[in-house]
Each structure stands twice: as C-alpha cells, then as structure tokens.
C-alpha cells in the first residue's frame, strides 16, 4: 500500500533513530545498575541446627536461633510439640520476646501481643507471627520456610 505522503521525513527518522537507540542503550545500562544496588541477601531457604541444642527444653520454653539475619524462636508447646516462628513482629518488624509467665509473645515497639501459638491478640499487629516448618532428621533439626498445614 503506497502512501501519498511520507509519515515522517528522513531527518525525523534519523533523529528518532538516534534518540531512541541512545535511550535504549541507557536503558540497558540501567538494568545492571539496578541489579547491583538492590541487596542480594535473602532469607535462607532452610536452616539446619543440631538437635542436641534443643533437646532439654521444658514445655513452655522458647529458645532463639538464627534465621538469616532475623531471630527465629523455637517453642516447645505444652503438649510437647515444637513450633518455630520468625521472631519478628508483623506490624513494623521489631523483634518480639516471649513472656513465659504470661504465655504471650510481646512486641515492645507498639505493644503488640500474640498468644502462645503466635496468633495476634492485641495491639497493632494484624496477622499472626510467621511460622516455619520443622523436621527432625537424625541429629539435625531442619527448619524450612513454608509453614505447615
């Protein structure tokens, strides 16, 4: 289909080509910069701990372990089962503590409360504490990202 008039002149084409290609070149340089400056550290997929460290826990006791750079909380429930939480408040990321006498997790930053199973019961947090899955394999306690059930 032959047009009666050109869509654009040769000068416009060249200017557009120059400007557009330079923009594309700059764009392709932007990507490595972005990839570089955003920190690559992530949460670990799993953490392997020696089970021996956590054998003698009393019911209702909570011990910490390292979950990447966050604190992980390992809790022995009343019925003897072990649960693992990410010990970070779901409100604004402060570290929580377990108050054993009250059987509640407490976040001091804005007075957020969680019950002994990590469910949010008071204060600003709108979701429960994040749970991690727990598997005992021989001598090792393997803690993984996904929450069970």
């Amino acid at each position: 289909m032959k047009l009666k008039y050109s869509l654009f002149s040769r000068r416009q084409f060249l200017n557009g080509l120059l400007g557009g290609w330079v923009a594309a070149l700059m764009g392709s340089l932007v990507y490595p910069v972005i990839a570089f400056i955003f920190p690559p550290y992530r949460e670990p997929d799993e953490v392997i701990l020696p089970f021996a460290d956590f054998k003698g826990m009393a019911p209702g006791e909570v011990r910490t372990f390292a979950w990447g750079s966050k604190p992980g909380l390992l809790k022995k429930n009343e019925d003897g089962t072990l649960w693992a939480f990410v010990g970070v408040c779901t409100h604004l990321d402060c570290n929580v503590t377990y108050l054993q006498d009250q059987k509640k997790f407490f976040c001091a930053c804005h007075e957020g409360w969680y019950d002994e199973y990590g469910k949010n019961i008071g204060g600003p947090p709108s979701t429960p504490l994040r749970r991690l899955s727990l598997v005992i394999e021989g001598q090792d306690l393997i803690i993984k990202k996904e929450a069970p059930e």
Binding site: P32, V33, A35, F36, I37, P40, Y41
Partner: protein, 358 residues
C-alpha cells in the same frame, strides 16, 4: 496538547526560571577551530566521560565496601562473588581509572607540545596540572582500598618516598600514613581522601578549568596564530558534540570490552607482619617514577641517593607546573627547546616504564 509540544514546553518552563537558553546559545555559537591539531580537542571531554563513569561506579561500589581493616578485603570479595555483576562494576571502575589517567597524560602532553598554555591560558594550565596530581592521588589512594598484599606493599613503598625530602619528609609520610606505619588508620585516611576530600577538590578545580576554557575559547596552535591565517571553525553545538559522541561511544565500547575480559582479581587479605611480596610494583602510571628512584645509587657525594632522586622529581614537577611562565618566548629558540623537552618527557616516561617491568 500534542506529545511533541511537551519537550519544547518543558524547555521553556525551565528557561523562564533558570535562563539556560543563554548557555545553549553560547554553545551554538562557540567556534571550535579545525586545524591539524584539532584532534587533541577530544581528549578533554573523554576525561570527563571517564570521570563520570568513575563517579557512577564509585557510588555503586561504596554501597558494599567496608573501609575497616578487618572487613575491607572481605567486602571487596563479597562485591566480586555475591553481589550480582559486582565483579564487572569493580572491573569497570578499575579500567576506567587507567583510561582516565592515560588520557589526562595525553591531554597534558598535547597541550605542552602545541603550547596552548600561552597567555591568557596560564591558569587553565595550572589548574590542569593540579588536576593531574589529583587524578594520580585518586589512583594511589584507591589502590590501597582492596587491602591485599600487593596494594599494602605498594602503599608502604609509595608513602615512604616523601620521607627522603629534606626537612618536611617525615612529616609528609606520617600525614599520608596516619602514623609511623601503614596500618588500618592509613586505610581509613585513604578512604576518606578517595571518596570525600579529593572529589570536592577535583570538582572545584574542574569548574575553574572548564569555566576558563569557555570564557577564553579554544586556542590556536602557534603557527596559525603567528601566520594569522583564517582558520575554519565549526560550532560547538551540534557539530563538535556529534563528533565527540562518536569518540565517547568508541571509548565506552573499548572500556566495557576490557572490563569484561580482563577483570582485576583479588588477592587474599594483607598481612601487616608478612614480608613484601616479590614482583612488587606500583600501578603503571607510577612505573617511570619508581624506576627513576631505583637507578639512583644509595649515596651520591654527601647526599642520600633517594633524596637527590626525589628532589629531581619534584623539580621536574615544578618545571611542568610553571611551564607557561618559563616559556615566555614561545616563538624563539627557547620555545623550541621547551617543545623538545616535552618529547623528551614522553620518551623518558615510556623507556623508564618499560625498563621497570624488565
């Protein structure tokens, strides 16, 4: 409102407030003479290109670099192994430094040989020589930052050299080192100098240097000026800028190719107690000075060999610095001798650099 009205619309809006159209008019009128020597005009903007690349890659590297004795080497290692494309960014930073200093030398020598430092451009020359000194100091301080054996030893030697200067020598050395020896304090000091102190100075000097060039215009080589011939000019914008862009593109291509295929590696962390490694040598731009110091015997008459060597080097630097004032009669025989001294400097630098590698 059309899409194509956005561009000019924005331009007018900014111009009403900044008055930048005066700059654009100036750039459109600024004449760039086209002579046999005009090819050297490209060196100036090429230096700016590499400096800009250094600033950008420097901004990126500083996000991960840790300037303490325990963590410096490890943090550079993390940049190279854990951070995505970190090794490329570091490689670009390292190679761009080399290219920038090389072009600074070429820039200075080209101006020396065609005597562009004549009146009224003496201050441009003075600021230029200081800019060369700052660029070399950038390279020297940056070299220590990975804190591996080679860079530690090179810094020990480099900061020991001023000690040979009479009277102020020991003081200069301890100022550079932050103490008697090269320690973690030296690293802290060099880091601060490299990322904060020198950038401010270089920006100030660059501003003066570039302002003077715009104000005084491009110089004509001596012959053309003497003959008072009509010289063909082209406007800076857009004619010369398009040509410069071609040069920049080629330089960037070469830089990326070198950076990807010849990236610098990282040795293990420096051991302050270890013996100096074999094959110790500074970066290439210091090789000729290094060799000059090596050839002087330990004692000459009553003086220490290295004192004589250092003083001679300082004298040479002073000669280059004061060149516009020494070369006050450029068309006469004295002027020709000074031109030949420029060629002599090139030959001396190349021969001594190669010699130091043998």
């Amino acid at each position: 409102m059309n899409i194509k009205d956005i561009g000019p619309g924005l331009q007018n809006w900014l111009d009403d407030r900044f008055g930048l159209s005066a700059i654009m008019d100036f750039m459109k009128k600024k004449p760039v003479p086209q002579t046999r020597h005009s090819i050297w005009f490209y060196t100036g903007s090429s230096i700016l290109l590499f400096f800009a690349i250094q600033v950008i890659t420097g901004f990126m590297l500083i996000l991960y670099y840790n300037p303490t004795l325990d963590e410096a080497n490890a943090s550079v290692g993390r940049i190279m192994t854990e951070v995505p494309l970190g090794w490329i960014i570091r490689s670009v930073h390292s190679w761009s430094a080399t290219f920038m200093i090389a072009i600074v030398f070429i820039h200075m020598i080209s101006i020396w040989l065609i005597k562009s430092y004549r009146k009224p451009r003496e201050i441009t020359w003075l600021t230029g020589v200081l800019l060369l000194g700052i660029s070399l100091f950038f390279g020297f301080t940056g070299y220590l930052l990975p804190w591996d054996d080679l860079s530690l030893s090179a810094t020990k030697v480099g900061t020991d050299i001023p000690r040979s200067i009479p009277v102020v020598g020991a003081w200069v050395t301890s100022l550079l080192r932050g103490g008697e020896d090269v320690t973690g304090d030296t690293l802290t000091r060099f880091f601060g100098i490299h990322v904060c102190i020198l950038p401010i100075f270089i920006l100030i000097l660059l501003a003066i240097h570039i302002y003077l060039i715009q104000k005084q215009g491009m110089s004509l080589p001596l012959k053309e000026e003497v003959a008072k011939k009509e010289v063909r000019n082209i406007p800076f914008w857009p004619n010369f800028i398009y040509r410069e862009m071609i040069v920049w593109l080629i330089l960037v291509g070469i830089l990326f190719t070198f950076a990807i295929f010849l990236p610098p590696s990282l040795e293990k962390q420096a051991d302050l107690m270890a013996a100096a490694p074999e094959g110790l040598k500074p970066e290439w731009y210091f090789l000729f000075l290094f060799q000059t110091l090596k050839i002087f015997p330990a004692k000459i008459l009553f003086f220490h060999g290295d004192t004589v060597a250092v003083l001679l080097i300082l004298l040479g630097f002073l000669y280059i610095f004061l060149l516009p004032f020494i070369d006050n009669k450029p068309t006469e025989f004295k002027g020709k001798i000074i031109t030949w001294s420029g060629y002599a400097f090139i030959i001396y630098a190349i021969i001594f650099s190669v010699w130091s590698l043998l």
